[in-house]
Amino acid sequence: MEDFTYTRPSSLSDAATAHGNADDAMYMSGGQTLIPVLKQGLAMPTDIVDLNAIGDLAGIEVAGGFVTIGAMTRHAVVAASAEVKSAIPALAVLAGGIGDPQVRNRGTIGGSLANNDPSADYPSAVMGLNATVVTDQRELAAEDYFDGMFATNLEPGEIIKAVKFPIPEKAGYAKFPNPASRYALVGVFVAKTASGVRVAVTGAGQEGVFRAASIEDALSGDFSAAAVDGATVPTDDLMNDMHADPEYRANLIKVMAKRAVDRANGQG
């Protein structure tokens, strides 16, 4: 690990200022990706701006048809939240399946989204539920937020404050873990909303999370697992590694979609 300057501001504006004044700053949220990356020397920022002392970034609120989760809310808190379990149970299930207990007790939703690991769980919920990412500067729709593997449309220094999830009619999440790392080899978030069916896939796409149009079409008329059988998932843009080639990932996308639909329908 290289030396860096560490600051722990207590307000969003102080954080942004600290970031702006540094040569090459990184924000730290839960640190569950950042710390290992620093230790391996894969990132060598001049400054770490720790967001953990900013009090009002954590918390869960259910109102007006939305579940709003503060950026610094830990995965374990989301997983255990009675409000989330009641409003969008699939989101609590997703949060409860991230990493291991240590990761869930430290990692945050904002950190996960800012990092946008192509195998992370949360991006599928944000995309699948058509959530809005609220920052210290603006609001970004899910479609506008993600920008490929480990990339987002956040501006340098921009800080995620919260994520607003519209409450769907029903939703389900199913993940197939990488046998070694247990990150999502394929994770599929399925939601039935007033404006239609959305199916978002994480872990599989070369450009990170994406919507599976063929499965959305199949489910639009018939929101059942059987309807997914007829869909064809193109393999062109799927990742290829030693654990899963595009053909196997395409199969898993359908199988996980079916299981997510079953769960959404209370059958899983």
Partner: protein, 786 residues
């Protein structure tokens, strides 16, 4: 205070320390003034070294020393020759080995090979400086696949070693085997892969090296499981008298064979300690461990089985090729040759067998012991060809196995591989295992599984082991005036519980309280010899040494007891911790106390006269055996396997501590299932770069993937090869697990026509096998090379 017995489940004394973070591992050893060392490792699988420029590194803050090949050449330090138990080719010529120095000399031959050692005041300074060592390489083509490396015209790693062939070994009766194949009604043949794996102990390798100029004495604290042999090796490298080097291991956090070898880093650190006059600490990190720890398994065998029309086995032919890395390591050439031959054929009766094994140099990390070192490979290969024969020829796999087991009356028997099977009751253990499994109601399990849209599979896998490792072991016992008893032993526990089980033997034999025993191990200054850990030897050889020492102490104590009892030595008998003469008796405790007191001793005996050491030497290795059975569920949509049941009967002879035996079995099964389903060392075939260089890609088994195991021990066939009647238990778990698990999966896939599949059985591989409908080339792995 408590009396203990042999056969008692005693909880591990060391666990309090280990589980509460109070173990003292190598990174907990810190000496005054120590500097930190980091190894500069090769980034290439195969390259010529043109030059090494250390000037920039030497100019950096805190840098004290950079050791390179120039130092090694100038000092005339020696290479480490292989100690392989097989040293000769089938034609009688010696095996071929390049000089294995602690640093690469003219060329690097695998990614991770040490090229230089950088020493600095702090770890970070040493790391930074290691990056500044400028090595100029000319990259050469990399050889990853041993089959390709054997082909005529292949790139040669060593100019004087044609076809990269280290060792070409044969065992058995070739003509007899050929004749049996000629008369057979059926012959089946299949290439079987044993995937390359690495041990990934929780504690990575590391050492602290110290040199005292006043006494010209070196001390090496080292995370090793083989103290005395490696002390000798390191002394030979550095050209020092071995009595000038003390080799000591504190607690060691797992070894599994991977801490057995003579590694290059400790001599490098010893040299640096002498040059700088300061202690040197070096700790391998996890990424470096993947590159530079020894690997295991990694062999491919052409298995051929000859049978009669009714399914009686006639003969077995085995032809194995293994890539052992670029050098012949400590025992590397032995594992795929002699080490894999011995238990080939398992507990089945054969008229003839022939084994050929070739150890081939490749541009990969070194191959050396890995839990079982050849025996798991032998059993797996045997069980796979038996399963293949059953499926191809239409025999019931369970019946085919049962029918061909050596009957009890056939024992003692020397197998066609020369293994001396003295005792055992293979059919009885087979039936007992089937009874255990049948209690779980396999047909109900099958029905339930299939109703849920999954596939059910069951397999049974008998295994034959051979254990004992290094044949000699030392046990020393000293009685202290404070009542404690020091027991020093030359075996090395890397977490297996010797502190408990060996103390249990001493205390039970002497009839003293077990808490009095203070355990000492892994220290060349504490024991004159020591065989370390390997080959499941600790109980068989180490436990026997302890019991022998204790029995001799009882004899030494009889004259003292006789004096206390006012009797004659010949009249005194020892039983249950007491010496008896007629109606009167005196306890061992009282005799020990008397042995410290000159007034109570017979004439000619001195205080401390019961302090005693003994060396036990075994004869022929013992032959544990047993049976594993597994029931699995396969999800055909994803290829995921779930265990529905796992049953084991083991014959380890007499069981000293059933709780610890369970731990050995469960741990071994977990390790075997890791190999069967997850673990795979993968090198890029073109560049020789390690693909699975971290736990993100190298899958280790998680606790939730390991099934509950029902374990039974059959103690009706104790061996007479050692006084305890024990057979080694440490490796058997991973011998039985792979074949039971893989064949159970194959049973589940039979409706799809799948008759073979290679480890690791990842979900993708199982799913692909289902998609392919079982289409396969039985000789696809070795082709014409076998």
């Amino acid at each position: 205070m408590s009396k203990v017995e042999l056969g008692q489940s005693l909880r591990r004394f060391e666990d309090q320390r280990f589980l509460t973070g109070r173990g003292r591992y190598i990174d907990d050893v810190n000496l005054d003034g120590q500097a930190r060392a980091v190894v500069v490792r090769s980034p290439y699988a195969h390259a010529k070294i043109n030059s090494i420029d250390t000037s920039m590194a030497m100019d950096m803050d805190g840098v004290l020393l950079v050791v390179t090949r120039d130092d090694w050449k100038r000092e005339g330090f020696q290479p480490m020759p292989t100690k392989s138990a097989v040293q000769k080719n089938a034609d009688g010529t010696p095996l071929k080995q390049p000089p294995r120095h602690c640093l690469a000399m003219d060329k690097v031959t695998y990614v991770g090979e040490p090229v230089a050692l950088v020493v600095a005041e702090t770890l970070q300074q040493a790391r930074d400086a290691a990056e500044a060592v400028d090595v100029d390489y000319d990259e050469l083509p990399a050889l990853v696949d041993p089959v390709a490396a054997l082909q005529p015209g292949a790139e040669q790693i060593w100019d004087d070693i044609p076809n990269n062939l280290c060792l070409d070994f044969e065992l058995g009766d070739k003509d007899g085997t050929d004749a049996a194949f000629a008369e057979a009604d059926h012959v089946v043949s299949l290439d079987v892969l044993n995937n390359r794996v690495t041990a990934v102990p929780i504690e990575t390798r590391g050492c602290v090296a110290d040199y005292d100029a006043a006494t010209d004495q070196y001390t090496l604290y080292n995370a090793s499981q083989n103290m005395h042999a490696n002390r000798d090796t390191f002394a030979e490298v550095l050209k020092i008298d071995k009595n000038k080097l003390a080799h000591i291991a504190p607690d060691v956090g797992g070894g599994f064979g991977s801490k057995n070898s003579g590694y290059p880093e400790p001599p490098l650190c010893l040299y640096a300690a002498k040059v700088l006059g300061r202690p040197i600490k070096w700790i391998n990190n996890r990424s470096e461990s993947f590159l530079s720890d020894t690997h295991g398994r990694g062999q491919t065998a052409r298995m051929e089985l000859a049978l009669t029309a009714d399914g009686t086995f006639l003969a077995l032919r085995i032809n194995t090729i293994a890539g052992i890395g670029s050098y012949a390591w400590t025992v590397g050439p032995f594992t795929p040759t002699g080490g894999s031959a011995r238990t080939s054929g398992g507990p089945y009766a054969f008229k003839a067998m022939h084994f050929r094994g070739r150890a081939v140099f490749t541009n990969t990390a070194p191959m050396d012991p890995y839990r079982g070192a050849g025996r798991p490979e032998a059993t797996y290969n045997t069980e796979r060809i038996v399963e293949y024969a059953a499926r191809k020829l239409g025999f019931d796999p369970i019946e085919l196995r049962r029918k061909n087991l050596m009957p009890r009356e056939m024992l003692p028997h020397k197998t066609p591989m020369g293994l001396d099977v003295d005792c055992g009751d293979f059919p009885r253990l087979f039936d007992m295992t089937m009874d255990m499994a049948n209690k779980a109601d396999l047909s109900a399990l099958r029905a339930k599984t299939e109703a849920a849209g999954k596939k059910f599979g069951f397999a049974i896998a008998p295994y034959l082991e051979c254990t004992g490792g290094g044949p000699k072991e030392y046990a020393g016992v000293a009685f202290n005036k404070d009542g404690s008893v020091d027991m020093s032993i030359g075996t090395s526990s890397t977490g297996m519980g010797h502190e408990t089980s060996l103390a249990q033997i001493l205390a039970a034999t002497l009839g003293i309280d077990v808490e009095r025993v203070r355990f000492h191990q892994s220290d060349t200054t504490a024991t004159p010899i020591g065989g370390g850990h390997g080959g499941s030897r600790a109980m068989e050889v180490g436990g026997s040494a302890v019991q022998q020492a204790a029995r001799e102490i009882i004899e030494l104590a009889k004259p003292i007891a006789a004096r206390l009892l006012q009797s004659e030595t010949e009249e005194v008998e020892f039983e249950d911790g007491s010496f008896k003469a007629g109606a009167s008796s005196v306890s061992m405790n009282d005799v020990i106390e008397a042995s410290q007191d000159a007034d109570k001793l017979p004439e000619g005996m001195e205080p401390g006269c019961l302090d005693h050491s003994s060396v036990f030497e075994r004869g022929i290795i013992s032959v544990p055996n047993g049976v594993h059975a597994a029931a699995v569920e396969v999800d055909p949509e994803t290829g995921v396997v779930k265990f529905l049941g796992y049953w084991i009967m083991d014959d380890f002879g007499k069981i000293i501590n059933p709780l610890l035996a369970d731990g050995q079995v469960m741990g071994g099964v977990a390790q075997g299932l890791g190999q069967a389903f997850l673990e795979d060392i993968v090198y890029d075939p073109d560049t020789g770069q390690l693909v699975t260089g971290s736990l993100m890609d190298y899958g280790l088994p998680h606790a939730d993937e390991i099934p509950h195991m029902e374990i039974g021990y059959y103690e009706g066939e104790p061996t007479e090869k050692n006084p305890l009647g024990v057979k080694g238990a440490g490796e058997a778990g991973c011998v039985g697990a792979c074949p039971a698990a893989v064949n159970a999966v194959l049973d589940a896939l039979k409706d799809y026509g799948v008759t073979t599949i290679d480890m690791p059985l990842t979900p993708m591989k199982i799913w692909k096998a289902i998609q392919s409908g079982g289409e396969h080339d039985p000789h696809g792995l070795l082709g014409d090379a076998a």
